[in-house]
Amino acid sequence: MAEPRVLIVGAGLAGLAAAVGLARAGFASLVVDQARAPGGAIHRQPLPGVAAHGLPAQRRRWQNLRAEVTAEGDRIEILCNHRFAGIDADGVALLTGERSRFIRPAAVILATGATERVVPVPGWTLPGVTTVGAIQTQLKTTGEPPAGRVLLAGSGPLLCAAAAELAAAGNPPVAIVEAGRPFRHAADALALPAGYLAEASAHLARLLLARVPIRCGMHLSRIDRHGDTLVARAEGGGRHLDFAVDRIGLHDGIRPNGYGAAGTTVPVALAGDAREALGARAALEDGRRAGAALAARLAGRPVPPDMSPALERERAAQQRLRRIHAHDLGARLVAIGDDTVLCRCENRTAGDLRALGGDPTDRELRLRGRFAMGRCQGRFCGEWVRRLQGDDPADAPLGAVRLPVRPLPLADLIDAGEPDEEN
């Protein structure tokens, strides 16, 4: 029977950097990922025969990390097409996928990346309306942009990045609808670290060339379906524009996707965007930090601090980006119509939330309101429910951690056998 290894969930930048950090300190790890190849959201690997994507510096960053992983030999095992279903109070973790199994890890690092924030708007549940990330995933994997007219809307630097990628792939979006007014913040923008500026100007140059209009200070107020066409209305500054399109990508930033990190006997740590959503540059740095910190903890040595100057710099850059893209989200949320679906899983609306009265407890929100009780466990509604209640979304998440951390076919549990059959 092998020594218990550290289980790392997520083979993106943070997960693999953590594995390297652990291996260098003498600890073996098993890295699982739900995708068919390592890479995570940023370095998602193309299908065989599809050209690699991304800027050269980004590709180099990934290749260097892969080389570091290879250099550690069998101290790092990567298992793709497998998913982490959670870890119970006794320290037994369930993996499902090609071969479901129970394992007893020495510790767990969740490097599960980010979830996209999407501000609810009537019609956002219609087929053809996805996150911007879903469009990027398809593009990075197949090299093919979605067919037909595409509209991107929301807020943040990812909109321009994704639009530039679509343009490069031959199907620029018909427009970008950006709630903020980023071009009015030149001083803040120029104070961003050089890497951010270089990326942003590469993207903007492409968008200019492809003549993609960027409608700043506007947001979508509704999406309707007419036959096969989606019609999105953008409003702002006292005017409105209608867009008839085939696909709509929505994106309002990212938040940590650190689900499943509670109540077990072995150490559980978060790394990368799953700990704090600071983006790709920070994910690599934070993965190294998390690996080294966990190694110290397992060896009984003093644990290094959980921030570093490099991470502080990324945090400051992200704050600056938020200032550049600032807009009146609070006012929009208060005015959200009663018919707007907040909880996509259980079809619960802003009206259903208001019907719960003045100041419902979390328990009432969940048991009477059914918010954060659906299949996604509140990933997509929790923040909006909190904010509509006037609470700070940074408060404890509305959805308590439930095992398994995602819905699971019973057959997967049966396939996994008994927890103490060693595997």
């Binding site: 299908l47 197949t142 979605p146 996509r344 996604c376």
Partner: protein, 83 residues
């Protein structure tokens, strides 16, 4: 293209390694069926977090965005009852 899955019985071509969601999107199929809550099943997050793209595979509900295609794989709308 390296084969075809069967979507509600009809062949849909796929490229080696791609997900069911990806093959269906190329074929212009966006609505994936009806969920018990009254919503339509459809891809939203594309990475297994929203559970909006559930389809039926031999009677198991799975995420279309995470399920790799195989030649002859039978996939059906979640509400179709013919998985």
């Amino acid at each position: 293209m390296s084969g075809a899955i069967l979507w509600n019985g009809a062949p849909v071509a796929f490229r080696a390694g791609e997900s069911v969601a990806s093959a269906l999107a190329r074929a212009g199929i966006r609505a994936l069926g009806d969920l018990p809550t009254g919503q339509e099943a459809a891809v939203f997050c594309g990475i297994g977090q929203c559970q909006g793209c559930l389809v039926s595979l031999d009677g198991r509900l799975v995420e279309a965005c995470l399920t790799p295609c195989r030649d002859g794989l039978r996939v059906a709308s979640a509400g179709a009852g013919n998985g």
